[in-house]
């Protein structure tokens, strides 16, 4: 039997499409603004030609560099040229390596991506179940344990934690390689460090959300229907408690995909974070610009995804 006339469903689809288009449009606007800012960064540090030429350069050298790199053109013209290039993946050449920026980045980004995705997965797998259990039994032993985990996670510097793990599991036990990025085993320790760093926030938010939702009237309704406790917990409570967690996890994933300079240097993972750090030191502006744009776009994309995920979780958001 078919429920709901077709017209009703069509209206729903149109509503959904309108929501999607609105969010996409917003994301595009944010991306454009970000591109403007990341381009302007080049000029914030002073005259890029002077910086590139070095301390011993003469007036003529600087002038030559200015013409060679096109800094003599009006800034809006440079921006449009850069942006058009960016659209086709052409970010120019690295000043330092003299190879295309896009090659450098596509070389390094997969490492960071793998690490980031593994890190957030680890964090969610650890934080969400712990947060849920802590909320079901507040002030119990497991709740205290979860609190302990999150306090330690927040207080411990990542570089120190990394070194401890390396000493125990790589050097003494020999279970995993010390550093590098050749095999999946290389990613185990960095994933734990990166994921653990994101765990406290997600866990506390899950716990707080669940505590609040479990007090809600509709949970009592679900119990009054005689549903089994697992269904009450996972179907009726967790979905509502997950909404703020999605937003936080997206931000933290964005942060991870931006690359962790500390973790990438300690574990000698040649990732995008390390590349950004080195490029800033080398005044390698095209690489810095491209990476900033890229990281920002990842953020914008993740925020969009979080919005869509939340709209799926909570129908009230879909009309907003």
């Amino acid at each position: 039997m078919q429920y709901g006339p077709a017209a009703f469903n069509t209206a729903k689809v149109i509503l959904m499409l309108r929501f999607l288009l609105k969010r996409l449009g917003l994301a595009a606007l944010v991306a454009l603004t970000v591109s403007l800012i990341s381009f302007s960064l080049l000029f914030l540090a002073g005259d890029p030609a002077v910086a590139l030429a070095g301390e011993a350069a003469t007036e003529e050298d600087i002038e030559a560099i200015r013409t060679q790199y096109g800094f003599d053109r009006p800034i809006p013209v440079q921006y449009v040229a850069w942006l058009t290039g960016a659209f086709t993946g052409d970010f120019g050449n690295s000043y330092y390596f003299n190879t295309p920026v896009i090659d450098l980045i596509s070389d390094r980004l997969p490492t960071t991506m793998q690490l980031g995705l593994a890190g957030i997965t680890f964090a969610l797998l650890l934080a969400v179940p712990l947060g849920v259990i802590a909320a079901i039994r507040p002030n119990s032993l497991i709740d205290r344990f979860a609190l302990f985990i999150s306090v330690v996670g927040q207080a411990m510097p990542t570089f120190w934690f990394s070194l401890i793990l390396i000493v125990i599991f790589a050097v003494n036990m020999g279970w995993v390689p010390v550093s590098g990025s050749g095999t999946w085993q290389h990613f185990i320790l960095p994933t734990i460090v990166l994921g653990y760093f994101a765990t406290p926030g997600i866990m506390r938010l899950t716990r707080a959300g669940m505590l609040e939702v479990l007090r809600a009237d509709y949970i009592r309704t679900a119990r009054a229907k005689g549903l089994n406790p697992a269904k009450v917990l996972f179907k009726h409570a967790l979905r509502n408690a997950a909404i703020p967690v999605v937003g936080l996890a997206a931000v933290q994933l964005g942060f991870m995909l931006g690359g962790s300079i500390v973790i990438e240097s300690i574990f000698a993972l040649n990732g995008a974070g390390l590349l950004a750090f080195e490029s800033i030191n080398r005044n390698d502006f095209p690489v810095v610009q491209a990476l900033i744009l890229l990281f920002s776009l990842i953020y914008v994309l993740l925020t969009l995804l979080a919005d869509l995920l939340n709209a799926w979780l909570d129908p009230r958001i879909r009309v907003a």
Binding site: K225, G226, P229
Partner: protein, 332 residues
Amino acid sequence: MEPLLSVKNLRVEIPVGTGMLKPVRGISFDLQKGETLCIVGESGCGKSLTSLALMGLLPKVARRSGDHLRFAGQDLLGLKERQMAKLRGQDMSMIFQEPMTSLNPAYTIGDQLTEGMIRHQRVSRAEARDRAAFLLEKVGITAAASRLTQYPHQLSGGLRQRVMIAMSLMCGPDLIIADEPTTALDVTIQAKILRMMKNLQAEFGMAMIFITHDLGVVARIADKIAVMYAGAFVETGTAQQIFDAPTHPYTKGLLSCIPVPGKTERGARLGAVPGVVPSLINGVEGCGFASRCPMRQAACGSEPDLTDRGAEHSCRCVHDTDTLRNMEWEAA
């Protein structure tokens, strides 16, 4: 005849910082199949906790005890949570006070209506949806089938309460406990919902426990009435007995608060029961109503029992029946 529900000496206790809160202090009643019992009392008298205790839905900190709580032949006091969950929604169901927050915002009406039936009766989704659509029509919702795909936020409070009522009927329970189902609704809808519930009861034949503070509501639907005060029943009887021959001073006080068409003069002051419910921490000393009662005397220092005042009529007061019946309510 064996009553559908027989409650004997039901108690609820909640440990609090300064002692033991005793919001339900030993209530007893029998309910026959198809009968409606109204439990009436002011806020804080323990009527909502009574209903939650019957359903086994009390908060974890609360403790339930009693002599027995027999429902359809089995004593619910001895049941484990899993066995209790099998009865809930299937044989006994509940309608709550707050329609705005009692439905889960994340799921469609159809999903929430059907999930209980799918669990209890192992029917297919389609069968459950047919039943849901049928019941939505029964509770007066138009275009019922298309409502199933809607979310709670797309419905008004009145509609949501109708959905809750339909939900309570899904498995064809023998008993429905309604905890102030019309309190949060505006008056025009209240009357409609009450009439509808009365009709549904006549059609499906379930017994009903109706919890309310509103005697106007009671007059419309009750077969039997229990007036609850400070965690205990102070007067029980048939609807006719309570309205025609109220005996306990508190019942009289409550009745003086509502206007009667043709009897209450225009512009006349309505009655009021002064004072507040006593603290229920560590129980109550003597008659709980004494401090608010115009007829109090020295004997009120010890709590009287619920005694017979005629067939099916009982009252918890030290005074004899004639004195009580002749008393005119005047606030102390």
